[in-house]
């Protein structure tokens, strides 16, 4: 089959690889009908996530049709022919973390838990196509994929919704939604979202669905800000505006009630010297992440507010504003998305027309053009917001 493989820093290639097969009893093989390139794939592409190997298949947002099931899956749970969306974290459904709905912290699905534990203190769940730190599972930017513990993971789609309407249930829609959910939004809240990429856009939509009165989008790409403005959100371009002053002005001096960091480890900054400092430290590996967006969110948030972090961080950061966080009673909430918890409720919102995930798709390409898709998305060429690949 064809698959999009990581071949080194800043390089992916579509290669011919063997077809996947059942390795565990509760595996299923899915013929992929739609898959997407995620912002966090860019961290892999750029080489900021360690433990990638040449030949690793990329991709953790995918869906398709079940073509084979392992002997451990009972007929009632999943059948050949079922149409499924696959959540990016692999959950077992049985461990203490899964029982507490912390699916991305699953204790049983990372075969390299020992490595993950050294990085993070405790191991995290396996993730498809997301380095060997998260288990070394093959990804879904391919014609076929193996779905692990498929009866506990794959979500069956039984209505006639299109692929594009449901594909993002695999990651970015629940991730954006969890960003807003962790904010515990109250009536009248002003919510600021750093990053108007796909996850940021969904965080904004979700904040509104959950009752935010005003939503503010912060980015530097005019086309992304336009996309947010078209939904009725207020926008700030951090290239030409001081973000904190603008936020104070928009909120009568209070600061946003809730702040969402939908940027993560590769943030850029309007002030070049600050960016240079983090860039230099990151280059010599004494800091793994560039946390401008996180710092700015903490400093801008109103006292007693919530800072919700859904942008991906990988390691250690410098100059974390602990004083602001502690002295002003801020709540910091975060996590890789516990996708399974949100899939069904979000499917309901899509069916009822409350959310339209298709609004962010700007590019549709065949799988064979995946490297072009990465280039468009990474370099923000041709107003690229989200690329969907069709095998």
């Amino acid at each position: 089959m064809k698959a999009n493989c990581w071949t080194g820093r800043n390089s992916v290639e579509v290669q011919d690889v063997p077809d996947p097969s059942i390795l565990n009893n509760r595996d299923a093989i899915v013929k992929i009908t739609s898959t997407a390139i995620c912002g966090s794939d860019l961290h892999l592409l750029d080489g900021y996530v360690p433990t990638m190997e040449k030949g690793d298949i990329m991709g953790h947002e995918f869906m398709g049709e079940v073509v084979e099931v392992g002997p451990g899956i009972s007929d009632g749970k999943l059948r050949v022919g079922d149409r499924v969306v696959v959540p990016f974290p692999i959950a077992c459904g049985a461990c203490a973390s899964c029982r507490a709905e912390l699916y991305s912290c699953c204790e049983n699905t990372n075969p390299n838990a020992g490595i993950s534990e050294k990085f993070f203190g405790h191991p995290t769940a396996g993730i498809y196509g997301y380095s060997h730190l998260t288990g070394g599972f093959a990804g879904g930017q391919a014609e076929y994929a193996r779905v692990v513990l498929a009866d506990a993971n794959a979500l069956k789609i039984e209505s006639d919704l299109t692929d594009e309407q449901v594909l993002f249930l695999s990651d970015i829609l629940p991730t954006g939604y969890m960003g807003a959910d962790m904010c515990d939004i109250q009536e009248g809240d002003v919510v600021a979202v750093w990053g108007a990429g796909p996850v940021g856009q969904f965080a904004m939509d979700s904040a509104r669905v959950l009752g935010a009165e005003k939503v503010i989008a912060i980015d530097k790409e005019p086309y992304r800000l336009d996309m947010a403005a078209a939904q009725g959100y207020t926008t700030i371009n951090f290239e030409d505006t001081d973000v904190r002053s603008a936020l104070l002005e928009l909120t009568g001096g209070r600061g946003p009630d809730k702040c969402i960091d939908a940027v993560g480890m590769e943030a850029t900054h309007g002030a070049s010297h600050v960016h240079l400092y983090d860039r230099a430290k990151q280059a010599v590996r004494s800091e793994t992440d560039r946390p401008h967006a996180l710092r700015q969110a903490i400093l801008s948030c109103r006292s007693g507010g919530v800072v919700s972090v859904i942008g991906v961080y990988g390691g250690v950061i410098d100059k974390f504003p602990a004083g602001a966080w502690m002295n002003r009673s801020l709540t910091l909430r975060t996590g890789q998305c516990h996708v399974h918890k949100y899939m069904k409720p979000l499917l309901g919102l899509i069916e009822r027309g409350k959310l339209d995930p298709t609004r962010i798709i700007t590019h549709r390409l065949p799988l064979t053009e995946a490297p072009t898709g990465y280039d468009l998305f990474k370099n923000k060429k041709d107003h690229c917001e989200k690329v969907v690949l069709k095998p």
Partner: protein, 312 residues
């Protein structure tokens, strides 16, 4: 999960180790405080290079003394052996280039250092061997009641499903079993074990019987975890590692860190208890064979040969 090796604290009470520590201190103090006098006493004269060499040797003696008395470890004893060889080299050179004055004292010092060297070698060899019995502990919480977790573990023939080193466990009698495991450098070791304690839902303990390739013993406790979280498994393993400290270092170099192995074993047990089997990925298809994880395959489907090997 947390693991710990048995400490070397028993060396603290060892009279020979303490004696060598104090001897180091007694030699080191005059060497540092009055290097010229000390050098003269050895009959080697007090030229600048002799004085500074004596001071350096004194500093080394004081370091050895501090190490042996405060944080005793066989490494300090081996350090002393190295120091002795250095001293003997210097004294031999002094004997060779001697101008005749005080030759008797230099010869006596050489004889004394030779005797000290013999003592140090004896202490280092014997104390190193004494420190090689290993004790490992590890713990994990499994979201199942103690009775179920006990039942899974007490099915001894299933132990190789999650214990990376075990090739086979065969039950040979009501309280006896035969174990076969792979050891570093492609070796296989076998032993017969006897179940010494078996309290359903609480504890299993075993001990290898005489004639084992590696003497070993272990126990697993199953403790009710607070807040209905299931069962805390607490494992203690004791064994004599062949090759002593050297074998241990070599094993570690080849990726056989024993604490990590035991942690990973328990993780796989937890997977079986909670999900029914050991979860594999395309990158780490070996399942229970932890050693197969390094180096890893790329995360892409396996070729037919690789698949055959992984499923074998």
């Amino acid at each position: 999960m947390k693991t710990a090796t048995r400490s070397t604290s028993h060396l603290r009470q060892d009279p020979l180790v303490r004696g060598l520590g104090w001897a180091s201190a007694l030699l080191g103090v005059p060497q540092v405080l009055a290097p010229a006098g000390f050098a003269r006493a050895l009959g080697v004269g007090d030229a600048f290079r002799h004085r500074s060499a004596t001071t350096a040797v004194g500093v080394r003696e004081l370091a050895a003394a501090t190490g042996l008395l405060a944080r005793p470890h066989p490494a300090w004893l081996w350090g002393r052996v190295g120091g002795d060889l250095m001293d003997l080299t210097m004294l031999t050179r002094a004997l060779k280039n001697h101008n005749g004055r005080g030759l008797g004292r230099t010869a006596a010092a050489t004889a004394a250092v030779t005797a000290i060297t013999a003592t140090d070698v004896y202490a280092a060899v014997t104390r190193t061997r004494r420190s090689t019995p290993m004790e490992l502990t590890a713990t994990a919480t499994v979201a199942q009641p103690p009775d179920d977790v006990y039942a899974l573990w007490s099915d001894l023939q299933r132990l190789p499903d999650f214990m990376a080193h075990l090739d086979e466990v065969r039950v040979t009698g009501p309280r006896t079993s035969h174990w076969r495991a792979s050891a570093p450098f492609g070796k296989t070791v076998e032993w017969d074990a006897e179940t010494t304690q078996d309290i359903p839902g609480r504890l299993i303990a075993w001990q290898s019987v005489d004639g084992a390739d590696i003497d070993n013993a272990g126990e697993v406790r199953f403790v009710h975890a607070p807040g209905n979280r299931g069962t805390e498994i607490r494992v203690t393993l004791r064994y004599d590692l062949p090759g002593g400290a050297l074998g241990k270092a070599a094993a570690r170099y080849f990726g056989e860190e024993p604490h990590q192995q035991l942690d990973d074993d328990l993780r796989r047990f937890k997977q079986i208890a909670e999900t029914g089997e050991v979860v594999r990925s395309e990158g780490a298809p070996g399942g229970k064979r932890a050693r197969g994880e390094f180096p890893q395959h790329p995360a892409r489907p396996l070729t037919e040969d690789e698949l055959k090997e992984a499923l074998a």
